[in-house]
Symmetry: C2
Subunit: 340 residues, 2 copies
């Protein structure tokens, strides 16, 4: 089968690889219907995170179950399924509390790489959710979004306690930030302020439910949020970048007693304890337990109530994965869908 391998920063190749099979009795093997490039794939691509030798890439996927291990009960061959970037048993105490990304038995969701024709998914019963009926081609990008960026944006909005009567500010206009806007809107937020300086992303932000756009960043961005909120700051702030500047922008844009949901993977961030103490905000985030939200998100997508697949503004065949990485790295695309 064909699959994507990253050899070094900037060096992504599509190669012939061995088709994965069942290893553990709880595994499933899926034929990937669509995969994509994640913002987090850009960290090693840009050399900001080490590449440990040639690495199979991709952790967002939807597809059709080809094969199941003898202990798999909930998933059948032929099911169209959505998974996420970490495999979980969905039965341990941590999973049951809704934190499947911290499952006591967690492992990579697609260790063999999802940017490929086939992928082996461990703990299939706990990890995969079947769509019930087969999706239309139009629904596939949205289901793919659910497997990471939508689930992550949704978690961020929930962690930030977005809801009726709340003003929500969103730091970061990548796919996760944009889908955080969609989530906040669905959760009933009264006002949603997108922080973005790119016209195409602003347009999508507005389509997803943003009521205001702030182009300023850092201290100026914070001042603008305060100006829009009677000097108090937003009730809820979604942080979807992961840098020192974006974290501090998020914390300072939040009113005392408000909530920051941070899902940008932290890179080089250091929080001053005293500043955090005197800010009075709630802070919650981390790797999003996408699995918690999948059943609800799949239902919303299959019913046509949300269309998160709009974040994919470029679709390429798997063979052109290198161009997909380049397009995202150069910000020519918000998010690239790959079709095997």
């Amino acid at each position: 089968m064909r699959g994507v391998i990253m050899y070094a920063p900037g060096d992504v190749r599509v190669e012939e690889r061995e088709r994965p099979g069942i290893v553990e009795p709880t595994d499933a093997v899926i034929r990937v219907a669509a995969a994509c490039v994640c913002g987090s794939d850009l960290w090693p691509y840009r050399g900001l995170q080490p590449v440990d030798g040639p690495s199979p890439m991709g952790h967002e996927y939807v597809g059709v179950v080809e094969e199941i291990g003898p202990e798999v009960r909930n998933i059948k061959v032929g099911d169209f399924v959505v998974g996420s970037f970490l495999a979980s048993d969905n039965t341990c105490e941590i999973c049951q509390a809704g934190y499947q990304t911290h499952c006591i038995n967690r492992q990579p969701g697609a260790a063999t790489g999802a940017q490929s024709e086939y992928a082996r998914i461990p703990l299939a019963d706990g990890t995969l959710v079947a769509t019930g009926t087969q999706p239309t081609p139009e629904q596939i990008p949205s289901l793919l979004a659910a497997s990471d960026v939508l689930g992550t944006g949704w978690f961020a909005a929930v962690a930030a306690e977005a809801g009726p009567g709340k003003t929500v500010a969103v730091v970061g206009d990548g796919a996760v930030g944009l889908l955080g806007i969609l989530a906040a809107s669905r959760l009933g937020a009264e006002r949603i302020i997108a922080m973005s300086r790119h016209a195409d992303r602003q347009a999508l932000a507005t389509k997803f439910g943003a009521t205001d756009i702030v182009e300023e960043r850092g201290a100026e961005g914070v001042a603008k949020i305060k100006e829009l909120t009677n000097g108090l700051g937003a009730h809820s702030v979604i942080e979807a970048v992961g840098t020192q500047e974006s974290m501090m922008q998020a914390i300072h844009a939040t009113r005392p007693g408000g909530h920051v949901g941070f899902v940008g993977v932290s890179h080089g961030v250091s929080l001053d304890g005293a500043k955090l103490f005197f800010s009075g905000v709630h802070l919650h985030g981390g790797p999003a337990p996408v699995r918690r939200f999948l059943p609800e998100l799949i239902e919303l997508i299959m019913n046509g109530e949300i269309n998160p697949g709009e974040v994919f503004d470029l679709t390429l065949p798997l063979e052109q994965a290198a161009e997909a990485y380049r397009a995202m790295d150069e910000r020519r695309a918000i998010k690239v869908l790959l079709t095997p």
Copy 2:
């Protein structure tokens, strides 16, 4: 009148000072019935925080209203009242959300110092809560505890989401930590693990509701908490110290998805963003909005349901304030009550 002044680290004196009067129409002047030395007073006393010239000390107080400004409506002369360390209007949007320590009009709760015979309390209507009837002498220490250490421990327990079915760990065995235990117990926590290596504090912890004692600290303390919680960590952790070690101990002792309530005033703390991200905990804390809890706490005390005044293990006349500071600094006393 007589009042406490800190001149420099280790240099605390009781001096003749001018009796405060009404300055703003929203002020009240109280005759202090009891005051005390706070753990946070020890930071400048120990030279770990600068002393800006001679400073009137004390921000925990109960007393009888002597005089009110012309705009004070809710508090009458003769009322026995409890206040806290920050004055708040209790009407702004932040106060109404329960974050009176971040009131848009906040100011020091007793700028003239509460370790004295009289104190001027700004924003009296928003800051002071009357006990209704006059308390008995036995109730006064408990009401005094409500004005800071109980209110702070209570906030920490609420921030850590202590409640039925939860295992709560408490880092710090000072008055705030001990009263965090009492709060967690009243909030219905199933199991409360006190982290303490002092027999007298362990005894009080147990009296307040601790079910387990852990003497280990740092990584060993965390390992012990994990051992007591099936390897998962506590659901809720109260941090009541404010150092780097105690914060990391609290975060690492919390299970993913659990809650850390941190109320120890942060000194030199720096949190690694990636560690916090991957911990998956909720973090909330800061200067406790004691005012939010005062009506409920006063009722519990006046009804004899709780006796937080037991944290005072030494009572001295105001004139011996210097000895009070020494006793706390040398950990000969958990908390010292001063009677003017």
